[in-house]
């Protein structure tokens, strides 16, 4: 029994370690060369493979390539669905309007007859104005919907694309703007998919790639900070075991927060995709809103979904921004102090511009900056070259400023600091933003979390199987 327990623990541990290892490997492999601090944003962007300033082209853009292809496939299917709907939905509209006409006429005639029964022969009459008032309003709404859907010879998919451009794109644009503020690499117009097509999902795809691209850049930047700490201590350049662990904690922190937010974004995106795909049906339902119970609330629910999606995107972008800013501030305080806008571990994304730096801090920065330039081979930092350069330059600086590079010595405090920030994120910030920007406790359509849970279940299957086998053997 004890052996069975040990095997169970071992399986769980191995699966957990593999998951963590794969995550860390993924982040590490997304950053070209060794991560040993980045003094310029450009060198960091080139290390993560950003091409032509398009942040979504970075190596670490998690599943970006697949999502681009997935969106292209869904876009094609949605367009075909639109064409099929537009070609046939007039039948639905015509039948709907016919039933409405028939029912309204019958009811009108019935009511008129009922009223006429009690009247004298000379007073009996049927007024058509109230009937016509009802009919023409509904008729106009059906015609408007028909016009938008292209039934009357104009409109159709082109108009529908325009509608998605007007309604969906601004929703994503707000998030894209905010997340661009986090990285500050370029404006959102230059950010997005490299595929230039006329696909119907483009209004979502481009800003989506921008938000995800920025999220990944921040995630990789945070992880790069962690790798820097790990490298410093591993290569004997400063700090000890706790500094290495603090680096690992920072990597894990950004890994966990980054992937959590990615799945959050995925939920929002699929809601918007859902809205785009069913746009013809939503417009058709809009024609009968207030007339048929079935169509009631379809348009307002869709608008509601759109508004909630916009809020979620803002919330997610805000979380990215705040997390990186807090870590940046902490790094600025320590690596090295004082708080002057420069830190030796994190790439300078949202951080303050270096200012009022004292001579010692300037000397430290110049060592990192020079060694970074010297050690770049084929666009990536070579750690041995960096170490050699660092060792030589460090000695020079330390002769003038003894202990200038001792800032990595207090590893235990860094470790506690990262844990504190992690607690702060999960117990305060994340929840505060969700409360302020109105996240529902349990959403009905939460694709991202569903995928995440599925992944967890699949990953946990070996542990589950081992547990079941253990239980079965125990019973025997």
């Amino acid at each position: 029994m004890l052996k069975a327990k040990l095997i169970q623990i071992a399986v769980k541990f191995i699966m957990g370690a593999i998951a963590l290892g794969v995550g860390i490997w993924y982040l590490s492999s997304s950053i070209g060369g060794a991560s040993i601090g980045y003094t310029s944003l450009n060198s960091f962007l080139s290390a993560i493979g950003v091409q032509n300033g398009d942040i979504a082209s970075a190596n670490g853009c998690f599943l970006c390539g697949y999502i681009e292809k997935l969106f292209a496939a869904i876009g094609n299917a949605a367009e075909n669905f639109w064409i099929a709907m537009v070609d046939n939905i007039w039948i639905l509209l015509a039948i709907g309007f016919g039933i409405f006409l028939f029912y309204t006429t019958i009811i009108h005639l019935y009511d008129a007859s009922k009223k006429n029964v009690s009247l004298d022969e000379s007073e009996k009459k049927i007024e058509f104005k109230p009937w016509f008032d009802k009919i023409w309003k509904q008729g106009v709404r059906v015609m408007m919907a028909g016009a938008l859907l292209g039934i009357l010879g104009f409109g159709g998919t082109i108009v529908l694309k325009q509608i998605t451009n007007i309604t969906i794109t601004p929703v994503m644009f707000v998030g894209a703007e905010l997340s661009m503020a986090a990285t500050g690499v370029s404006d959102s117009a230059q950010c997005g998919t490299s595929i230039q097509n006329d696909d119907i999902l483009n209004p979502v795809l481009k800003p989506f790639m921008c938000v995800v691209g920025n999220l990944n850049t921040v995630m990789l930047a945070g992880a790069a900070g962690g790798f820097s700490l790990m490298n410093y201590s591993w290569m004997g350049m400063g700090g000890g075991l706790f500094t290495w662990l603090a680096g690992l904690a920072l990597v894990i922190m950004f890994l966990v927060i980054g992937f959590n937010l990615f799945f959050d974004i995925l939920s929002v995106i699929f809601k918007l995709v859902f809205l785009i795909i069913f746009l013809p049906l939503i417009i058709a339902a809009g024609a009968f809103e207030g007339t048929w119970g079935l169509a009631n609330g379809v348009v307002s629910n869709s608008i509601n979904m759109l508004v909630k999606s916009a809020i979620r995107i803002v919330a997610i972008a805000l979380k990215i921004l705040i997390t990186y800013a807090i870590v940046s501030f902490a790094a600025d305080e320590y690596f090295p102090g004082p708080n002057d806008g420069y830190n030796a571990i994190l790439p300078p994304l949202v951080t303050e511009k270096s200012q009022k730096m004292n001579d010692q801090a300037l000397s430290v920065m110049s060592v990192f900056s020079n060694c970074e330039k010297v050690s770049i081979v084929n666009g990536a930092v070579d750690k041995e070259l960096f170490k050699n350069c660092f060792t030589a330059n460090r000695a020079q600086v330390e002769r003038r400023y003894p202990g200038a590079f001792d800032f990595m010595g207090n590893g235990f405090e860094f470790l506690l600091l990262w844990f504190g920030i992690f607690f702060l994120y999960f117990y305060v910030m994340s929840q505060k933003i969700d409360t302020l920007l109105g996240k529902d406790s349990k959403e009905e359509f939460d694709y991202g979390n569903w995928i995440k849970d599925l992944g967890k279940r699949i990953w946990g299957a070996p542990a589950q199987i081992t547990e079941q086998i253990t239980k079965a053997t125990e019973k025997k």
Binding site: L321, I322, S328, F329, G337, L417, K432
Partner: protein
């Protein structure tokens, strides 16, 4: 997720102690049938483990129980406030232009929709023109405000609220503790010095206000760290001699670290409320201009009215265009973003903060029975060696900390999303439950294995 993270933390700590205890791996003494649990190995393991923990405890005590110790949670808090100020600055820079254009575009749409509604239904052109003028004046004022830097403006107005709040907190803490004859470890001076030496160009609050905000939740840190250091000592004493002493020591460490972070997270929650209020000010402009209903009838009364009640309404047109227009403006609903709500959030946060200081003062009075502070050195020491007494006091403080949110609410402070306090406690409870269940399973497995 959090559960996983906490488990990971435990693993990391376990890992670190294993790394430290690398020399503890018994060697050269394998008993009969390959058994490693020989007396020699046990002794070796206990001695080495004792040495490691002893070194760690001494280092911990040396770093933490000093006069000018700046608690780590205060450093986290400062990084948090610095980060939030930075984000506030970034948002202000990137959002001001966007919000200004957005306000103008929305105003154009609003005029179009209202004009259509007037032609279709109300036929009251005079009222419409009045409304247009009112809204135009209001939007102009708000654009001017956000161009001037709303965060700084808001802080000039709300700064005294923070000063009064933190002053009251300090006053309550000092009066209660002096009545109880407690001398608080002076982490506050250290925090003030630390904050003053860590300026930021983005800082919205001045360093004194920042330090005052960080001081209240960390006033008990000196006491708590003393108890944690004592916990490590008992762990040390318990190794190889008494499982109960070891468990009591471990309980101490967990219990008082929990207390440290419980108070810190509560205060961070208040600080988050303050900063989110400031950061959302550009959105407040939209909520003020397009949310809620105005009660004023004069064009120049509108801006004044808007400062209190929030704008003069959405579009009255109820067609699809009106629904989309109003739907988008729901992004910036008056409940969360109106100036009224922001000011209330600020005042509530401060009342909450003052209430928190009362709870902290009570805890300080209770803790004074077991922890003493040397007046000269300002270093706390444990004056009661009976760990049962300290343990009971620790649990009492934990109870007060866990109900501090409710106490603060009852006193009058109410901050949004207070569920995070219970979530932290719930996660710890869950972790404790899982740990005990695992321990029981292992015990059963071990017993079963012996049969």
């Amino acid at each position: 997720m959090i559960k996983k993270f906490l488990v990971l933390c435990c693993l990391l700590f376990a890992f670190t102690s294993n790394v430290f205890a690398a020399s503890n791996i018994p060697s050269g003494d394998v008993g009969n049938f390959g058994a490693w649990a020989t007396e020699h190995n046990r002794e070796l393991f206990v001695n080495n483990l004792t040495d490691d923990i002893s070194a760690f405890q001494a280092g911990f005590q040396k770093n933490v129980l000093v006069k000018d110790y700046v608690p780590i949670e205060a450093k986290v808090g400062l990084a948090f406030m610095g980060g939030m100020s930075m984000v506030g600055g970034v948002l202000e820079r990137s959002l001001v232009r966007f919000i200004s254009i957005f306000l103008i575009v929305m105003f154009v749409f609003w005029v179009m929709l209202e004009a259509y509604q007037m032609m279709k239904a109300t036929q009251k052109s005079r009222e419409l023109i009045e409304e247009i003028i009112k809204k135009a004046v209001l939007i102009t004022i708000w654009i001017w405000i956000i161009q001037q830097g709303p965060a700084q403006l808001f802080m000039w107005i709300m700064g005294p609220v923070i000063t009064i709040g933190t002053y009251l907190s300090d006053l309550i803490l000092n009066s209660i503790t002096s009545t109880a004859g407690v001398s608080l470890p002076d982490t506050c001076t250290a925090i003030h010095n630390y904050v003053a030496n860590t300026p930021s160009s983005y800082a919205i609050l001045d360093s004194t206000q920042t330090a005052n905000l960080l001081c209240v939740p960390t006033r008990l840190s000196g006491f708590f760290y003393t108890a944690v250091a004592m916990g490590w000592k008992w762990i040390l004493v318990g190794i190889g001699t008494s499982a109960f002493t070891f468990a009591a020591g471990a309980t101490f460490v967990v219990l008082f670290i929990y207390n440290i972070w419980k108070f810190a997270l509560m205060a961070f929650s208040v600080i988050a409320d303050l900063f989110l209020g400031i950061m959302m000010l550009p959105f407040t402009a939209i909520a003020q201009c397009f949310g809620g209903k105005s009660s004023t009838n004069t064009p120049f009364g509108a801006p004044l009215d808007a400062l209190g009640s929030g704008g003069n309404g959405k579009t009255t047109y109820d067609g699809y265009a009106g629904k989309i227009f109003n739907g988008f403006l729901d992004l910036f609903n008056t409940k969360n973003f109106s100036l009224d709500a922001q000011i209330k959030r600020f005042i509530n946060a401060m009342i909450y903060f003052v209430s928190l200081s009362i709870v902290i003062a009570l805890c300080a009075a209770i803790l004074s029975g077991v922890v003493d502070v040397d007046i000269a050195t300002q270093i706390p020491t444990l004056k009661n060696d009976s760990f049962m007494t300290v343990l009971i006091v620790g649990f009492l403080v934990t109870y007060l900390a866990s109900t501090a949110g409710d106490i603060a609410k009852n006193i009058g402070g109410n901050i949004d999303g207070s569920k995070e306090f219970t979530k932290f406690g719930d996660d710890i409870k869950k972790l404790w439950g899982n740990t005990t269940k695992t321990a029981q399973d292992w015990y059963k497995a071990a017993r079963g294995g012996k049969k």
